[in-house]
Symmetry: C2
Subunit: 348 residues, 2 copies
């Protein structure tokens, strides 16, 4: 067990969008840092990055990079995590991995602290951070499950391009400019970098996030399904997802239909539960057109919930609209919160 | 009964987006026109509009405008329809109304010809054209209901700004340009022209289409629910909707979950039914990333269906992704198809 006043930290994938956000979050939350090592691929090594008014030179990540590191945040893609996470663990480093590489491993906790902090207790040196669209959904579903018993979930997502990385953001900007100027443009990145076909994202909607699996669902949809069951410790939960990429930069939105066990529950009971829940903010008033949007949720820590309605045919059915910044609660913030939770509980 | 080789036609709201599209559709389909009268508000009267290489001067719509008119297409908003549709009917004109003014009247057929052409037979001089998001959904649901029995529908929409009119299209363009140039911009039209508050649509998603009703649903959501039941003649159908406005210009997309009565149905049974259905085009092959998008469906007549998947928990549950041009099948095309159907069956 590591138990110090300040920690030796490494960030793998420090030059990427999530890596940069992790640094912002560490600084904003005054995370107790003794030293910060920034790691990347060979290509980005040598880049200088500012942190707390100091310049840090990014180094190439190698198995030896983790000597003396207490906590490493990995956010450089599944392949990098697969090769370097075991090396970091050998050095006694506690790894919080932002990729999907280990999320479904039975002995790796998959954690959203508001939902299943207790799963962190018996970690084996590695904790996985969930997929962005999963994190915000379980944050909203957990208090509902606790209060009313969750039976079933059907979600349709509205996801920002930043979830597909900086190249996807750049693609949206370029295509949008070209489209407004009536100029031709190419689609090279979205829906999935490296997949066979690419389609325009500017002024469009793409019903594919990540590659297709054999069952006709995309990997993103299966992540939402499987990760939600694991995080909520509800392998029996009925859950379906349709994931759609849209032309905006930040925040994922989700139209969620749920069915609950408890009878006689109404919208104001939901409001009461959601208002009290940690990390959630209720923004729900039809009279004043109050509801969250991707733009209103951007750069904020909370998961925002609005448009709570009882189903018109099923009194145990409810509809919600859940929005959160996909790079914060969906990625960097949750990652840092996992580390804070480990420290606070002396579970490091 | 009017029965001629060619007809005296009027378009009310001729200078609007749907009015213009109706003219395009009439020309493209070689609708049998004896004369074409273009009508508008006083403000737009005097405008010259080209139709089949002839200039037509738009006239101010008055109660007397309909003398001698066989068929009038109304698309100038609910208030205009409320005042002038009764006047047109008095002249013996058959009215096809694109607004929501009369859609739920028990003695006014609400028609998507592929779904309920038979309801046209006993019209009383007035037929309503459904809401755009309803039309494409019922076109996809009807063959499914016929083949497998539809029990339940849960839809989340992805709707284009053109559904809110030309001002909303202009607002998206202006805000997008300003946003890309890092300049300030105003929101004046969306989510709903004339509502209290307005929010940016550029690089955003607005979970409000039309005003809120007392039950917390928006009018657009209630239209989808009530119109679907009426068109499909299924007052018992369980149906819920969440409607979201998105930053693209043309076509609405819909993530639809359905439950069917029949047991033992699989995805290829669905494909068989959808392939044969009138007005539908199946675009569904995960292996080749084949699915419809708003851009791919724009300027096309069909309703496109893709992403058909069986629910993982409920064998009688299926997920679909339905896309169609909201100004064509969602408005102008369906309107003209109603007129064609009346003529073909001598029901005029």
């Amino acid at each position: 067990m590591i138990n110090k006043k300040a920690y030796h930290i490494a960030i793998v994938g420090a030059t990427g969008a999530v890596g940069q956000k992790i640094m912002d979050v560490l600084a904003a939350r005054k995370f107790p840092i003794q030293s910060l090592k920034l790691l990347s691929s060979e290509r980005s090594a040598g880049t200088k990055v500012e942190f707390n008014n100091k310049q840090i030179v990014v180094e190439k990540a190698t198995p030896e990079s983790f000597a003396g590191i207490d906590i490493a945040f990995f956010s450089a893609g599944g392949t990098v995590s697969e090769s370097l996470v075991p090396e970091a663990i050998k050095h006694g480093t506690v790894v919080i991995d932002n990729t999907s590489a280990y999320r479904m491993n039975a002995n790796v906790p998959l954690v959203v602290p508001e939902v299943n902090a207790k799963d962190l207790k018996d970690h084996n040196g590695l904790i996985s951070n969930p997929n962005c669209s999963t994190t915000q959904m379980v944050a909203a579903l957990k208090p509902i499950d606790d209060a009313f018993g969750l039976k079933r979930v059907i979600v349709s997502t509205y996801q920002a391009v930043s979830g597909a990385g900086q190249e996807a953001v750049d693609e949206l900007i370029k295509q949008t400019e070209a489209s407004l100027n009536d100029e031709p443009f190419e689609a090279k990145i979205l829906p999935v970098k490296g997949d066979e076909r690419h389609f325009p994202i500017a002024f469009n909607a793409l019903p594919q996030i990540d590659v297709f699996e054999d069952n006709g669902y995309t990997k993103e949809e299966m992540k939402m399904i499987n990760e939600t069951k694991k995080i909520m410790n509800r392998p029996d939960l009925k859950i379906a997802a349709t994931c759609v990429r849209l032309p905006f930069f930040t925040s994922h939105a989700e139209s969620i239909y749920i069915e609950i066990e408890k009878d006689g529950v109404n919208v104001s009971d939901f409001w009461d539960v959601l208002k009290k829940a940690e990390g959630l903010k209720l923004q729900d008033d039809p009279d004043t057109q109050t509801y969250p949007t991707p733009l209103s949720a951007a750069n904020k820590d909370d998961v925002f919930v609005g448009r709570v309605r009882q189903d018109l045919d099923n009194k145990q059915g409810f509809h919600l609209w859940v929005v959160s910044d996909n790079l914060l609660k969906g990625a960097a913030l949750n990652t840092v919160q996992i580390a804070e939770c480990l420290i606070k509980n002396k579970w490091l």
